[in-house]
Amino acid sequence: GASGDADGEAAKDGSAIKIGILQKSRSDQYQILLNAAQDTALAELKSCGKIADFLQVDADTDVQKQLNQADDMIAMGVSVIIMSPVDANGCAPIVDKCKEAGIPIVIVNSKTSNVEDATAFVGSNDVEAGEIMGNFIADQLGGKGNAKGNVLQLEGDIGNSAQIDRDQGLKNTIYKEEGATVLESLSGKWLREEAMRITEDWLQKYPDISAIAAENDNMGMGALNAVINAGRKDDIVIVSVDAIEDAKLSVQAGELDATVLQDANGQGTGSVDVAFQIASGETYEKNTNIPFVLITKDNVDQYL
Amino acid sequence: MSNLESAFLLEMMGITKQFPGTLALDDVQLQVRCGEVHALMGENGAGKSTLMKIAAGQLKADRGEVLFDGKPVCFENPAEAIDAGVSMIYQELNPILHMTIAENIFLNREPTRFRGLLVDRKKMNQEAAAILKKYGMNISPQVKMIELTIAQMQMVEIIKAVTFNAKIVIMDEPTSSLDADETENLFRTIAELKERGISIIYISHRMEEIARICDRVTVFRDGRYIGTREISEINRPALIKMMVGRELSDVFDKVPVRQGEVVLKVEGLTRNGVFQEISFEVRAGEILGFAGLVGAGRSEIMKSIFGLDPYDSGEIIWCGKPLTIRSTAEAIDHGIAMVTEDRKKYGLVLCRSLYENIGLPNLKKQQRRLFINHKANNAKISEYAKKLSVKASSLSVEAVSLSGGNQQKVILAKWMMASPKLMILDEPTRGIDIGAKHEIYKLMCQFAAEGMAIIMISSEMEEVIGMSDRILVVHEGRLNGQFHRSEICEGINLQEMILNKALGGDK
């Protein structure tokens, strides 16, 4: 991607740099990993005196809350803001406000609709995650172009950008397979118990299911529980996104077929690096793409 | 028992209780002997209920000493008072509506089985049935309270209180909603309790009851102790003077009023199962009395005319024109007002100020403007409050803080302010002290003289006879007889004749 300089040329003295983090959530398993990676990187910067301080606030997946927190942070006059946006459209105003206030902003994890106005972006493309899932299922069901079987889709909270993109990824892949049918998609609201309940009902309804694609691991694990309890794991392929701890363990144990790793560590560390580069006036990458990785039984050990 | 005669079971000395804005009790005393029926009297707001609530552990006194059975006590809550042997029938009825009669009577002392683990319903219902029978109530103990009439609820409350095996039973206006029969029942019960050496504190505004059943009387006025007398040694005027502080002339000083046009004419009004074929008329300036036993359906007739309840057939002719009343708003707009018998339910918004309570039905009339002129409005409200001598520290206090009788005055004030063409009064003086009664009667005459038509339902025979120009008697939802003022004056035993009709005689 393109590279650029931070607003103003002044290479700031480390003792004056204050980094503010707008977290999306502290309860979402993926976001926890991302937050932790940022935290580690920031703590290190602080301990060697490169930055004065940092501040993390969490929006609890509420757009308005994130907007308010951005206001508060701008009022506090931090040197740079890193944001994991709650919503692509909803958080776009934050980027504008930062621009207005002259505070650089690094967007991490998922994009805002006006991401090009932000100072920098570090993240992955969720459509890609959906495509990886779709391709994996196609491979399992007979290979691309020849895939056959009935697929069910567990969606996240409808309208959420991760849901929209991952859904798009699936639409780009498995939906296009002639031989495969996506029987139904229902929203498990990112929740394990909800996904489990829906899957239980599906298992009653459909005697012949070949695969379940869940838009996050939490739902994938819920579906897995239901499928195992019904004794039908051998017939059904389950894949989901995030590579949270128990999903990886489950892959290792040969239960969950695959999970798609979104590199929280890479995104977290990357975003802090870029933010620090901006604040201290160094050159930085405007767009950093951290790719998704498919984790199966074959390669799971290196991620545990 | 006789050796205990002089000993005091309950002694309350120097009791003081301050409410915000009101000194409800100011250094009062009360001494109740074992096995006596002790009357507590005083005007509305004198502090009777307050003192009794202190005795029953509902309220705590600011100062003063309570001796029970010779020992100083300080009940923290009603449970302690009950344990010690004090039980109370509260002035404001409080049944648990969705529980059965048996469950209400035996609340907190249910018979149990399996070592107290389970409630023995069978036993509870059997015992309750026996008790009900004993007190002349022919009802299953498994009927829910909500299905009872007010009088029946009151009887259940009484039964509950007297079966507590208490040493003292406090009765705060127990007869206010009972009819003659039930009152007799209660008096028998009281005599029985007395026999067993149980003391009774009896609060009532009805002089004749006091004279009949009480041994001694203590009088309060404005939160102060006035004195205690033997009933046998005090006559009625002297007692009234103790309470009111001055002499009262004849209570009913009804002035004859020239009657005007027919204001309301009702023809064949029927509400299926409640009342049938009711026809009558009332003229401007007339006071029309409705007599009958409690439960005869008088209130229901009036509620239908006022739009609170629906009716099934019949015609209402208002000032010569037929009128369909579908809601109270329509009735009020036409100039009908009604003081209902259930003051807590239909009369007051307890958590709001007296200003708001009195103003409520009058807002529409007060002005057609968008905003309320509080100043002018409140000035007018104060005028009416004063007219009815409402006793309150200010009109901005909440209605809940008023004594029962004063609450009734607030309701009267609210409707008088509406200056209706027809005022329906359902038991207007229930729970009201003798002085205030006097004033209300005077006001009724005054309003009648100004051309208002008045319908008065009352279970107090004296009141109906004393105030009405004409009396209609209701029996089981039907009109059964009419008496004119002229007959009233002839001095025959009208009371007996009305009672005969009310019981369904000559049908």
Binding site: S27, R197, M221, N229 | P78, I96, L107, K122
Partner: protein, 325 residues
């Protein structure tokens, strides 16, 4: 006279039962409709499935019946479940063998939490709605603090059995737990002094006090019991999803309240029965299952559920009104 007629039959309240009849008819109607419309619904397996799914909401709803009859409400259920989940998770993560200890600790923790609710509500005579609106935040926050926001991966197979295991391979344990709790609740509410007091407190607090009922103790007990039941439900849920999560259980109180209200309890207090609540629970379970079987989309599922809640309650009101007039 009609009063006399009722005198003979006992303890089982016919009036209330007929009042409940309306809602029961709706449930029967729904079931019949689904039996015809959905081949899957007819299977025994699906029946077990439904029962299994309602067990968690059911256990909570039983506790909520007591709360609502006593004139209260508890909005902190969802958060309590989260506490139960992370407590179980934390214990099992430290030592997967400690299943009994984990379960007991979760129930005790939620019992104490319920006690806290009850204490504040009765000590300061506050609105349960407000108190639990506040404590709900506190408990959820506590669940996050305990788990540091993370989800515990559970590996104990014994623990997994609680929510996912079946007696003789057919009857899920969770159903057995629900039935036991419903039975205990039924006896407590309709056969013991405690139950009488719960009705009395909700029916008329002042009278209960004036009759010497220890309102403080009864309320405390009721909220504590709600806590314990929620703790049990939380453990089952944790076992079902096989993970201890602080974000779990959001909104569970609303489903439970809906079940209780559909079952004929009055939010004013003083009215309600356990059999009624059981009907309410079944109704919600059948709706959820039925819509999935019929392939109703997520958007419309909410709408249908909303209308069914409204319709059930309105119909119930109309039926009981007609009868009482």
């Amino acid at each position: 006279m009609s009063m006399q007629a009722k005198q003979t039959e006992q303890s089982f309240d016919l009036a209330l039962f007929t009042r409940k009849y309306g809602i029961l008819m709706i449930l029967v109607f729904m079931i019949v409709f689904l039996l015809i419309a959905s081949p899957t619904f007819r299977t025994l397996q699906n029946t077990i499935n439904v029962l299994n799914q309602i067990s968690i909401n059911g256990i909570i709803a039983i506790g909520m019946t007591f709360i609502i009859i006593s004139g209260g409400i508890d909005l902190s259920i969802g958060s309590m479940i989260a506490v139960a989940s992370v407590v179980t998770g934390a214990v099992l993560a430290a030592n997967p063998g400690n299943v009994v200890f984990a379960v007991v600790l979760a129930a005790v923790a939620c019992g104490l939490i319920g006690l806290f609710n009850g204490y504040i509500i009765s000590k300061f005579d506050m609105f349960p709605f407000v108190v639990t609106l506040g404590t709900q935040l506190i408990f959820r926050g506590a669940a996050y603090v305990i788990s540091d926001g993370k989800s515990y991966v559970l590996t104990s197979n014994a623990f997994k059995e609680i929510g996912q295991g079946k007696l003789l391979g057919a009857i899920p344990y969770s159903i057995i737990v629900l039935i036991s709790i419903a039975f205990i609740g039924f006896v407590l509410l309709s056969r013991t002094k405690y139950g009488q007091y719960v009705y009395a407190i909700g029916g008329n607090l002042h009278t209960a006090v004036a009759s010497g009922v220890n309102v403080f103790k009864i309320k405390l007990l009721t909220y504590m019991m709600m806590g314990i039941f929620t703790g049990i439900a939380g453990v089952i849920l944790t076992s079902r999803v096989n993970a201890g999560q602080p974000s779990i259980g959001v909104g569970y109180e609303l489903d439970a309240i809906a079940a209780v209200v559909i079952g004929g309890s009055s939010l004013n207090g003083g009215i309600g029965t356990i059999p009624g609540t059981v009907i309410g629970i079944l109704m919600i379970g059948v709706i959820n299952n039925g819509m999935n079987l019929m392939g109703v989309s997520s958007f419309y599922q909410q709408i249908v559920k909303g209308f069914i809640i409204l319709g059930a309650v309105i119909l119930d009101i109309m039926i009981s009104r007609r009868k009482s007039k």
